[in-house]
């Protein structure tokens, strides 16, 4: 594996040089969050460009270091195929690509707040909405396991905004009162 770290301002230039030098295909773009990596120094995120030649024998990983809130120039002018790959990186880590023609989320639902591949993304904390309008709040569910509440609570509308109270809130939610 050959890695090369490039300053952010010169990334497009570097990728153009890669393409001119025969590493003609950009097969993947992704980000890594080093927030909890032991012994990591330097900026929090790294964006990796995986480029190789058309025969697949030579491969180079071009890396750019960025901090939270920083953006990276887009590679879509060098490879049109960078479109989806950069959108996925934006979706998963929240790194913005300047000049990207259509920087929207790619995989996660539109109403999901946050970027799942960040190391500080809360796991198992997204309330789950059920068809009948009730939703499962993880905190309340865990409390339910200890016998303090039934777990299922609330009604549609509060699902993504989080729950303020877990105690007998709305009509029809009689499960915890019996």
């Amino acid at each position: 594996m050959v890695n090369v770290t490039v300053p952010k301002a010169r990334i497009v230039e570097a990728l153009r040089a890669c393409r001119a030098a025969g590493l003609e295909m950009l097969t993947d773009v992704f980000g890594i969050d080093y927030l909890t990596y032991p012994g990591h120094r330097g900026k929090r995120f790294v964006v990796v460009y995986n480029v190789h030649d058309v025969r697949g024998t030579d491969r180079l990983f071009v890396r750019v270091e960025v901090d939270d809130g920083e953006s990276v120039p887009t590679a879509t002018e060098v490879w049109r195929g960078a479109d989806f790959l950069e959108r996925e990186t934006f979706d998963m880590l929240g790194i913005e690509f300047e000049g990207h023609p259509n920087l929207r989320k790619l995989l996660t639902p539109e109403d999901l707040d946050g970027h799942p591949h960040r190391k500080d993304f809360p796991l198992g904390e997204t309330p789950t909405l059920f068809n009948d309008g009730r939703f499962l709040d993880p905190a309340a569910f865990r409390a339910g396991l200890t016998g303090r509440s039934q777990g299922l609570t609330g009604w549609m509308g509060g699902a993504r905004r989080g729950v303020t109270s877990t105690e007998g809130t709305l009509p029809g939610d009689g499960r915890g009162k019996a």
Binding site: M1, I32, N50, R55, G56, F61, G81, L107, H117, L123
Partner: protein, 384 residues
Amino acid sequence: MRINVGPQHPSTHGVLRLVVDLDGEQIVSLKPQVGYLHTGFEKTMENRTYQQCVTYSNRMDYLHAFAHDLAYVLAVEKLMDARVPVRAQRVRVILTELNRIASHLVFFGTGMLDMGALTPYFYCMREREGLMDIFEAVSGVRMNYGYFRVGGLYQDVPDTFEPMVRKWIDAFPKHADEYYNLFMANSILKARTQGVAVVTRDMAIDYALTGPSARASGVPLDYRKAAPYSGYEEYVFDVPTREEGDIYARMAVRFEEMLESCKIVRQALDMLEPGPVKDPDRRISLPPRRELENSMEAVIFHFKLVTEGFHPPKGEVYVPTESARGELGYYVISDGGSMPYRVKVKAPSLANLQSLEPSSIGGLFADMVINIASFDPVLGDVDK
């Protein structure tokens, strides 16, 4: 006129949504919308031990599941510097290649169905059924095999494995001839697919198209040849390529690939010799059951491996492999713990799906449906 295609429709081969702008019957613009199957496998793998992750890798591309397992275990084995026994490597190659044929058979069956040809579907599924029986005999299930392990295989193949594979491999080329005459040589199919939805070589490179679809456009990219893994360098086989880049070329490449895979399987079967199927290194593989009864040390290793898993050294690895759809690789980062710090799957279907837009624009709407099938996307592979 703007038309919404999918996400729930048989012709989209999964849950793919397309927003298509039409001028008459001509496509002006096409925007794929993906993510309906996003399951967060990569994130889940960060919270499982390295051996447990095999459960997740094969669920992404359910049609060529062994390739995903192989790509994942190869990456971790490189990290661990594991020595995989020869027998395990050969069985891996046999199963991956048979699975490639099974995947291409689904491609042909469902692709023809999109064109209104019902009969090929049944022939293709009949062939695939024989392969499913083999996979079931080996791993116990027909999908989501999870049979490969870091350092080798879960267990040795049953005695029935070799005769089953031989029987299937001997019968298939003869059937393939019939299928060739049935659909590939069919003049209606040729008229429908030749010169339609052309992906030029430049376009393929620009959009990072890989796999059979790229080889149909004259990009000779095949990691089994370019960067051999699991002993692919020992087998004699060709990489079929085409220059035309149309739908027919994409089908023809896959058809020839099935026969090449047959060749590889036959050679691997001939070279298959009895032996161990796991790395004997106790850091990676569970000790054999009989040792647990009289060796305290074996019990300790067993306990540590099951409860905690192994700890690869710090590092980052990437091993490119060739799946039925294209370049497939796992970028695995280890922080020295028993679970991966980060796993990034370079899944071929996502990048390949981007070529759908430029190749469909200017064409007819009815051709677009075949065009989706001709790239053979698996939406589990796209959405991860």
